[in-house]
Every structure is written in C-alpha cells, then in structure tokens.
Amino acid sequence: MIDGLRMLGIGIGEFLTIGSLFSVLWATQLGIIVGMLPGLTATMGIALMTTLTFRLPPGNAVLILICMYIGAIYGGSRSAILLNIPGTPANAATALDGHPLARQGKAGQAIGLATTGSFLGSVIGMLMLALFTPVIGNFALNFQSFEFFWLAIFGVVISGTLTAPKDPLKGWISGFLGLMIAMVGMEGIHAHVRFTFGVVDLSGGIRLIPAMVGAFGFAEVIMMMKHVKVEVIKSEITRVIPRLKDFAKYWKTIIRSGLIGTFVGAIPGVGEDIGAWVSYDFARRSSKEADQFGKGSVEGLMAAEAGNNAAVGGAIIPVLALAIPGSAPAAVLLAAMYIHGVRPGPLIMIENPQFVYSVVAMFLLATAAMFVLGLSMVRILVKVLEIPRTKLMPVVFVLCVIGAYAVESRYFDIVIMAAFGLLGYIMQEMEYPVAPMVLGIILGDILDRNLRRALVITDGDLMPFFTRPISLILILFILLSLVGKTRWFMHATAVAKEAVFGRFRRAKSTQGDTP
C-alpha cells in the first residue's frame, strides 16, 4: 500500500514538468475534439495518435494516448447532446437524456453535467485501476498455459456476446475470425509461416495498428459519407458550471455507475459503450424518477457519462495486468505499449511495477485536464461540430493512409489498412461487431502458443484443461456467455428463480395472512 502510494507519487512527479503538462493539455483537448466529431472515434484517434507519437519516449507517448483516450470518450457527449449523434459509440446512452435537455434549452447545463459525470466516473475508474491492477496481476501469476488458453476463448466469447446483444452468434463469428487472422504469418514455436500464400510481407503477420486504423478509420469514413449533413441544435449555451445540489442528490447513482462502468470496462473487448448502457440501465431501474429517463433526466445523463468514463479505467486494468484489452481503444493502447518496448502482462508487477503507477498518474492528469477543458471554451468548441463532413473526411483518410504507413514505413501496411477498412465496413453493414475481431487478433497468438504448450505439458491429455480450478471458473463463464441468452436457459432460470424465491414469497404472504 505504502509502496503503491510512493510509486504513485513518483509517477505524478515524473509528469509535473512544463513539457508534460503541455502535452496533457493539448492531447486531452484534441481528444475532446476527436470525440466530438461524429465519425472520429476514440479508437481511430488513439490509433492515429500512436502513429504520430511512436518516435517519442515511452512515458510521453503513453501519456498522450491516455489523454486522447479520456478526452475522446468524454468529448463524444458534446455531439450526443447537441446533435443527438454520439461522437463515439460510448456516448450513445448520453444522447437519450442529453439531447432532450438541449431541446429544452438546457444545453449548457447538460454539457456541465456530462463533464462532471465523466470526471467523477473517471476518478472512480482511476481508483479501481490503482487498486485492482496489482491484485489481478499478482493473481494472474498463478495462470499457466491452460488458464491463458481459456482466457483467450473467454475474451472473444464474452466480447461477442456483449457487443452483439441482438445476435451473439455474429459477435462470436467476428471474434473467431480475429483469432483466425492472427494465425497469418510466422508462428511463435517453430517459426513456420502460415497462410501467407507466398506473400513475403505477410510473414510477420497482420500488424494491429494498420488493421485498426482501417477497421475503425477508413470504415468510419465510408459510414459517415453515406449520410447527409445533420444540424446542430441552436440552443443558447448559458450556465455550464453544474450545481452542487445535482450531485448531492444523485451521488449514489454516480458511485454505482462508476463501479459498474469499471467492472464492464475490465471485461475483455467489451468497452465503454456497454459500460454506459449497463450503468444507464441500472440507474433507470433503481431511480425514483424512472419516468423521466429518455426525456431529459439529469440522473440518466450522469449515469451514462460516469459509466463510460469509468470504463476507460476498467479497460486499462486487463491491459496492464493480463495484456488483454478491455476495449477497442485499449487494444490500440496495448499495441502502442508494445511498440514502445513496454511489456504489460502478469509479470509487470514484478518487472516494472512503477509503470502501473505511472499510468495511474497519467490517468489522474488526463482526468483533471478533461474536467477543466470540458467546462471551458464550450461555446467556441461547438463551432467544430459545424465542420461539414465532406471537408473533414478526406483529411481523416489522408491521416489513415500516412498513419498506417508511418510506423514501419511499409507500403504493404497501407494495403492492410485498406483491406481492413473494407472488411470493417462490410461487417458493420452486416451487423457484425468489429471489436471482437480486433480482440481476436490480439488473443490469437496467446491462444496458439498456450494451447500447444499445454498439450506438450500434458502429452496430449485434455483432462487438465477441465480440472484446474481457475480453468473451471473460466469454462463456466464461457458456457454462461454461450447459453445465457438462449430461450431455454432464460426459461430454466425463471423456473429456478420462481422455485426458490416463490417459496419464500408464499411463506411470507402466509405469515402475513396469519393473525
């Protein structure tokens, strides 16, 4: 504990230089702008920023990326409130109450509430990040190949289930497609080259950054250009500074949403959008003003924003502790850490514990910057929303091309970016979520190496895969993810629930009837 606080102090001190603070301010502001603009998502912003920062020292580069991440997830609330279009998918729940507030002429109030909700959510996410990363990292030291194999399967399955709630099958297909894509290139045990069909450039495998720039950048450019222009609400922005009474009234909702957002964010490949929706749903169910939700509820707006920004902290926990991203932007962050020579994973608490606390310090600075910048320059920044997409998207695509190329100066990476852009667009049109595929690309190598290692350890015996305690828990979660939404399972759960709780209810009512 004391060691943790000391390392956090060192981490904060490390970034209290004029240069670093300037980086915090511009990167967070840029993140807010990227998040605000529909079509520029947090993932795209971080992927492009990775290509712009790969020459910087690791600490500065990761600091800029975290500022961009937190800024973008918050910034999306602006367009959700003013345009009814979430700037990033994470702000979809924000639009439900933020936009009605703007229509009622309370755009300034909505922006202030969203900013403070995001700030508080982010603080909760940061505290969870500081508390749980070492705990999970130390626990993961017990993991062997069996557990890592199941963890990889669990990652793609849960990500598929939660990112495609209407049709989990498509989410799972997307995840397994990602695992399959990771099989391309030289494998890690015998250096045998797989599925390259003679293309030498594929020998090193599919690089994550060009693939993500394509899937989240180029695909979004096509998506955005499909639609015609949208109008900004011409609501006069007056008071932005939020009132204390709103927070005193809804403090329970904010804390609950922050905790839920962090938990959901920490689930592999699930992300901030689901964090916001789950927080929003919980807030609606437990609210005394549930009828106001969707009509401009202050509580709903704060729950959604606290949820999505807390999920950022949650998503970074498995990045650091397990080298498994909690969301698509966190996947880029993980790739960026690899580029800069940082090796996250269970060993980080032994090899480089200071880095974990440095990330917490970066998070703290980014959160503070987001709060200050979010409450200032509101009227000026609204003008950004008026930039026509026909003028913005070609510039974005130019950055996608040069960004994909720049990291390794390979023309082939532009081809990868273009191919994944088209694939991402087709997947979106066919309602396949892209996030599980990205997670699959990252987890593919873990799955491949650990399955084969485990088989060597057991000499082909499959029993240890099913008998070790952690493996069993992971298998149980996988099965629950697979069958949890089937009608027969829900029916069986309802029957079981009625059998257990119904008996108590009946007993209680009988007691009540007895004089």
């Binding site: 397994f176 026509p388 695509f397 532009i414 399955l451």
Partner: protein
C-alpha cells in the same frame, strides 16, 4: 393457420436473413478451406517436433469452430427464408441508384484509388493534394449549376487540399523523419 392471423415477427437479429444466408455460405466455404489448409500444413516430422505442436493444430481447430458457427448461421437464415435469394439487373440498378449506396461506393472507390493507385506512384504531396481536392469537389460541387455560382467551393477545396498536403507531408517528413511513400 388463417390469413387473418398476424404474421410472426422475426426475432431480433434476424432482420436480414438473405444477407445472413449469403455471408453464412461464404463463411462456410472460408472455414472449410481453413480446415483443409490446416490439415495439409507440414507436420515438420523431419525436425522431430512434438506432434502436439504442429503448426496446423490451432488454425484447424479454429476452422472447425468457424465451420460450426457458419452452419448455424446458414441453418438459421434458411429457417427464416434467407435461401430465397434472387438477383436481377433491375434490382441491382435500383440499389445502386440509392443515394446512400452511391455515396458509400464513391467514397470507397475514391479512397482506394488514392491509397492504392496514387500513393507510392506519384509524389506524395501531389497525390494528397489531388485526393483532397477531388474528394471535396466530388461531394460538394453541383455539376448542374454554373461554375460562377460555386467558385467559392472550388477555391476552398483547393486551399484545404494545399494545406493538408503541405502540413501532413512536412510533419511526417521533417518532424517524424518518415520517408514518405
């Protein structure tokens, strides 16, 4: 079942059974190919490796998993009438005439032209200038109106294209020391 009875509404997620059928068949062919290629992959016996570490084992298992999921997708779409896929030139022309489709198609083709045909073949700043200028003009210029009413659009596009080409090239070339494509 009488005609008056309301038709069963499709379950959520099955809004596009025909598209699911087509993608399911494609995925099935893809996953079977993966399984076949994995089985055919060298076992590296001459290197005396452990048979449980052969390179094709994991892709093969993933191929099997994808095959099962693809079959589920196909069967589910068949149950919802997805197999009644019909193609006609008129239908394709009708789809292509939709502004949404047209805009997406033009964007994709023009972006691919820049990324795959211009970049790397002509001087990078020139390629970028042409792309940005062309993109804005393509989507903003109304060819049914006289030029004199739209010269501002072309001027703005030219300035934006010049600035983008110059700034992006300079930043990557001189700040990040990247040899431009």
């Amino acid at each position: 079942m009488s005609d008056a009875q309301p038709r069963q509404t499709p379950r959520p997620g099955l809004a596009m059974p025909k598209a699911d059928f087509v993608t399911g068949v494609f995925l099935l062919a893809f996953s079977i190919t993966i399984v076949v290629l994995s089985v055919q992959m060298p076992r590296l016996e001459h290197r005396g490796i452990n048979p449980y570490t052969v390179p094709g084992i994991v892709p093969g298992l993933l191929g099997v998993a994808l095959t099962i999921m693809s079959v589920s997708l196909v069967l589910r779409s068949v149950r919802h009438g997805g197999y009644r896929v019909a193609f006609s030139v008129d239908q394709a022309a009708g789809i292509a005439r939709k502004p949404v489709v047209w805009r997406a198609l033009v964007t994709a083709v023009f972006c691919l032209f820049y990324a795959l045909a211009l970049v790397g073949r002509i001087w990078y700043p020139a390629a970028t200038f042409l792309f940005v200028l062309g993109f804005i003009v393509l989507f903003e210029y109304r060819f049914d109106r006289p030029f004199r009413t739209q010269w501002g659009t072309v001027l703005f596009a030219t300035v934006e294209a010049l600035l983008t080409a110059a700034v992006v090239s300079a930043v990557f070339r001189y700040l990040f020391l990247v040899r431009l494509p």
